[in-house]
């Protein structure tokens, strides 16, 4: 059974006050807080077991390497990947997207080749493709969302043409909370022989992910949004795609032999993990994944669905508030604007009431332009949020309406 009070109790930061009132943390879309088990694991990793990984034969190096390498299996279990050999550990989705762009797409794409992406994308799944556009004339082909924020999978499939080499889509919009039907997109793309890269930064936080059922080729996740440390993350890469990857960054750990004249590379996934990695952040990330799997993704999703329904009802009842994104089945992420008040005005006043939300363009400027809004406020919920916190948010917004309306 899911006990939100018991969950909250595991997060020391949720006991603090902000501006004299108990913290209401609704900026989970930007980064989630960390449970005690993750904090303890970090302390243990640095305090008891620390050494560099993959390098020494001494006891600490072995402990550190085993802990670090163990995370690969945890990620594989979390995403139901066929093999942990298909998991590349990294610093998060931004690195993952840049790696796929540099290591898979750049050597394969010719000028005029297309990448299909949706207008819902985060800049991390846009700018790496712009870099390829600038460097080698790759064409970005955009698919718009409906006014409610939903994305028609058929529209994405229809956008795939003979020159399309990759579809890059989010699983869940960080602005509107839209859940994208990645399975349908992958089915359609597969029929046309085009790989699908999924930005799972938000999706993996809020619902159970099964990459085999989704049928995509790449699925990237970010540790700090999954209740783990910042600077951690992973990407699952299907075996066929992994075989097509070229080295990304050069350095230690990713090589087999180096001479003055030549270099041979380590097999994947090591080939794609140059240099000393974020050892402790990755180990903490593994603990966070265990923690989530122990609770159960279905239970987390059910709890958040309750928050979503309650928040949709309460926020929807404020006729001076404009919700951006009301797609059916969306996640508990609410972006909104208020006539007369700037998003920064709202977030400043909410902060004064101890409520943390994000204000701005949410690293999704093309979507903001499509929605016709300059900036929005965003309340994004997580596993530890409560209906009482939805009420606190509504009270804070009512004060904003009083001040700015």
């Amino acid at each position: 059974m899911f006990d939100v009070a018991a969950i909250r109790d595991q997060f020391p930061i949720l006991k603090r006050e902000v501006n004299g009132t108990p913290l209401v943390y609704l900026d989970n879309g930007a980064s989630a807080q960390k449970p005690q088990v993750v904090l303890d694991r970090i302390m243990q990793a640095y305090g008891q077991d620390y050494a560099n990984v993959h390098r020494g034969l001494h006891t600490l190096s072995t402990l550190s390497t085993e802990a670090y390498e163990g995370v690969r299996g945890k990620v594989a279990r979390f995403l139901n990947a066929p093999s942990e050999e298909e998991i590349v550990l990294n610093s998060g989705t931004t690195e993952a997207m840049n790696m796929v762009a540099y290591s898979w797409a750049a050597p394969r794409l010719q000028p005029g080749d297309e990448i299909v992406l949706s207008v819902l994308e985060h800049h991390a799944n846009i700018v790496p493709w712009h870099l390829l556009r600038e460097r080698q004339g790759v064409v970005l082909k955009w698919v718009d969302c409906a006014p409610d924020g939903s994305l028609d999978p058929q529209a994405v499939i229809d956008a795939i043409g003979p020159k399309t080499k990759l579809v890059a889509v989010t699983h869940l919009s960080n602005v509107t909370g839209t859940v994208v039907d990645v399975a349908a997109i992958s089915r359609g793309a597969r029929e046309k022989g085009v790989p699908v890269l999924v930005d799972g930064s938000q999706g993996a936080v809020h619902m159970a992910v099964d990459v085999q059922a989704l049928g995509c080729d790449f699925y990237a996740v970010t540790g700090h949004k999954l209740y783990g440390p910042s600077g951690s993350g992973a990407i699952w890469i299907a075996k066929e795609r992994l075989a097509e990857m070229r080295p990304f960054m050069g350095g230690g750990d990713m090589i087999d032999t180096v001479t003055r004249d030549a270099v041979t590379y380590a097999p994947t996934p090591m080939m794609l993990e140059a240099g000393t990695p974020g050892i402790v952040s990755t180990i903490g990330f593994g603990t966070a994944l265990d923690w989530m799997m122990d609770i159960g993704m279905d239970k987390i999703a059910a709890h958040e669905a309750g928050l979503r329904d309650y928040a949709a009802e309460r926020l929807g009842g404020l006729n001076w508030l404009q919700l951006q994104g009301t797609a059916p089945g969306k996640a508990a992420i609410f972006s909104f604007t208020m006539a007369g008040a700037h998003a920064h005005d709202i977030s400043t006043v909410l902060d004064r009431k101890g409520i943390a939300v994000r204000a701005g363009t949410h690293c999704a400027m093309p979507l903001m332009e499509h929605l016709g809004v300059g900036a929005t406020c965003r309340a994004s919920f997580g596993v530890y949020n409560t209906v009482e916190e939805v009420d606190r948010l509504v009270e804070g917004l009512e004060l904003c309406q009083d001040l700015f309306g």
Binding site: N19, H342, H344, D345, V349, A359
Partner: protein, 143 residues
Amino acid sequence: MASPAFEAVVEDFEFLGDWEERYRHVIEMGRAMDPLEDALKVPATKVQGCASQVWLVPRVDGEGPEAVYHFAGDSDAQIVRGLIAVLQALYDGQPAEAVVATDAPVQLARLGLDSHLSSQRSNGLRAMVQRIRETAAAAAAAA
């Protein structure tokens, strides 16, 4: 002592209670300030480093030691507009040399605004004060 206009603002704030009243007053000051014409909201007048959009249009009457500093400004955020109105009270109509010499953080602290509002980098107060001081210093130096 700062400018008479700013001293009047300080006096108003002395009668205000909690943060909510102070915010309300800042917002009111912004509403009472003349908006900037759209034609002046251009890249050259835009202040970088602010989370919301901010424009400042300085004007200097006279030269050298006699130079008097004026500025108009605007923002699409109401609280920031209010802060611009506070800065206008502090700087507008002052000798350019006095503008350069004014310690903005010290003066703004007299309003009892919380540190969040007066020190936050992202609301652009720091960037606005820097722009004002730069343009005033340039005018004072052009003797």
